[in-house]
């Protein structure tokens, strides 16, 4: 089992006098490592519109590489504008995953649109930075990964990886919209695609992770890291209903694989649970695990789906993951 030492909350936009587009929420942390600092990309939101609906923008903070608890810079404006009329990312860009590609930096993100019968739909977009990750431009007005016969809606939660010469995208796909007394609620599962160039994708076409909470379990944020000869996935999962409470809210699960297609789920191993009290006492979700200067860290978001910001944990044990 993994044993994590929680280092506390790192960033909460509500603690700062920020621009109007960064009022609350820090969701889906994803890191890019620089010589002197660690840039953490995440998704933040302005205050909701009068109808209660939110937009979501891509943002970053820079942390001192020597001391990850110290914020040295906060981006002044979103790194990507929202999409034009009728495009897939007109109403939000969230979550986000970032990767270096030679001299460029790529962000893969879920773009949000609003619909009539269901509240929203999503597809996965790609934007590229030629200035080291400060500003980004869309590769095209449309998505790089969108719905298909057995993935009918809600493609989101991308995590981009490159192993050898091949690109891998772990993401979620909607299965079903459940009718409720209020708004319909989606069910979504973790999936995978591969690519030679990170642009044209071949979908694997199967759910990767077996359900633990039944058929209507929602699975998100498949964060994969290769270490000690195995692929390790930390992800989030929750019930499809009552998920805004502590009882039904997001938890962090874990699965491992030797071939990236067959995954063994074992949530008990994840070792990351809610705290007794404080900012992550009701939910922990959207894990992002990375290795820096000989230590392994996990960024994650806390209560209210990250409204309360993001925090950091450091792995205490084990040192070798092959037996996990």
């Amino acid at each position: 089992m993994f044993k994590w030492e929680k280092l506390g909350k790192i960033f909460d936009p509500r603690d700062y006098k920020n621009e109007s587009w960064m009022q609350e929420f820090a969701q889906s942390p994803s890191v890019l490592i620089f010589e002197r600092h660690v840039r953490v990309y995440f998704c933040s939101r302005p205050a909701p519109a009068p109808d209660g609906q939110y937009l979501s923008f891509l943002s970053y903070i820079d942390l001192d590489r020597e001391n990850l608890l110290k914020i040295v810079n906060i981006c002044k404006k979103p790194i990507l504008s929202l999409g034009a009329y009728g495009t897939f990312d007109e109403f939000g860009t969230n979550p986000v995953s970032v990767i270096r590609d030679q001299d460029d930096v790529r962000v893969y993100y879920a773009g949000w649109t609003r619909c009539e019968s269901v509240p929203f739909n999503a597809a996965i977009g790609l934007a590229i930075s030629h200035d080291g990750g400060d500003t980004f431009a869309r590769l095209g007005e449309g998505p790089v990964l969108s719905c298909s016969p057995d993935e009918p809606f809600l493609l989101g939660s991308p995590r981009i990886r490159k192993y050898g010469e091949k690109w891998y995208l772990y993401y979620i796909s909607g299965k079903e919209w459940l009718r409720t007394d209020g708004k319909p609620e989606p069910v979504y599962k973790i999936r995978m695609a591969s690519s030679e160039d990170g642009i044209n994708w071949v979908k694997f076409g199967k759910d990767l992770i077996e359900n633990k909470l039944g058929e209507h379990e929602c699975q998100a944020c498949p964060d994969v890291i290769f270490h000690d000869g195995k692929y390790h996935m930390f992800f989030s999962y929750r019930n499809s209903h009552n998920y805004k409470s502590k009882e039904g809210g997001y938890r962090i699960g874990y699965a491992s694989s030797v071939d990236m297609t067959n995954w063994e789920r074992c949530d008990e191993v994840a070792g990351m649970s809610v705290s007794e009290s404080g900012w992550d006492s009701e939910m922990v979700s959207y894990p992002h695990v990375f290795i820096l200067d000989g230590a392994t860290y996990m960024f994650y978001q806390g209560n209210a789906m990250g409204r309360a910001g993001i925090g950091l944990a450091r792995l205490e044990s084990p040192q070798n993951w092959s037996g996990v």
Partner: protein
Amino acid sequence: MGKIFDPTEHTLPNNCVEFAQAPQALVISDRVRVYFSTRERDSVGKYLSHIAFVDFDKSMQNIIDISKHTVIELGELGCFDEHGIFPFNVVRDGDRVLAYTAGWNRKVSVSVDASIGLAISHDDGLTFQKYGNGPIMTASLNEPFLIGDAFVALYGGLYHMWYICGTKWKKFVESDPPERVYKIAHATSEDGINWRRDGRQIIVDRLNADECQALPTVFHRDGKYHMYFCYRQAYGFRKQSSNAYRIGYAYSDDLINWERDDSKAGIDVSKDGWDSQMQCYPHAFQLDGKNYMLYNGDEFGRLGFGLAVLDEKE
């Protein structure tokens, strides 16, 4: 040959009362089955487009049957084809019939989006089963929305699809909702399911850069490929006849490069009557050695469709 079908003169399934849009033909042993999109009003008063068909005898003069059941279900909650299927392109493929649907779903900032789905029939087109709940062709990097109007044909063992893709939503008048612009494009496939496309506009604009091009239909005759389609202005096209749909024409030797020449279309709005304000949604098919074209007239086909036959002397 004039108007051959008026939906208000028949009882249609799914509580549909008006519209017979985008007629498309499947030639069967003793009849020609013409699929079309017809409409019901839903609980909020908006339209839902459903597919129905009418069977003609081979003279195309007499109606011998009309669909009494649901030909294909609309999509489930949140699916691309939840709010309508229009149009419905049928193509024979061995002993099955493939249908390429354009599925519609309603949105908030713009009125709708569309994607292309596939359905398969094993009973000569009486009923169709969907190939998955999602589309086979939808928005992609350079085709951001409104993918529809598929027309599929097999040439040289390869499936060819002509379709339309949206290029922009544009506000022409600040107080009006945005209007869409879409163009004709081309895709190819080995299996009719997985398609390659490059997002290239294959038919040059004639009106202006905001010209809307729709419903391509292609046939091969006398060593050339011929395409009919319809086109209109992006704004003011509903009420003003001069901005409304007309039928255009292009030809090609290689299925790649198309020469547009609307003057050779050989069909234009009538002086008066059912197709005097607009003509749209052409569908060419061959029957007993003759080339026919089904199409809609005024009000996008609210009161039915007509038929024209190619004059062999020309």
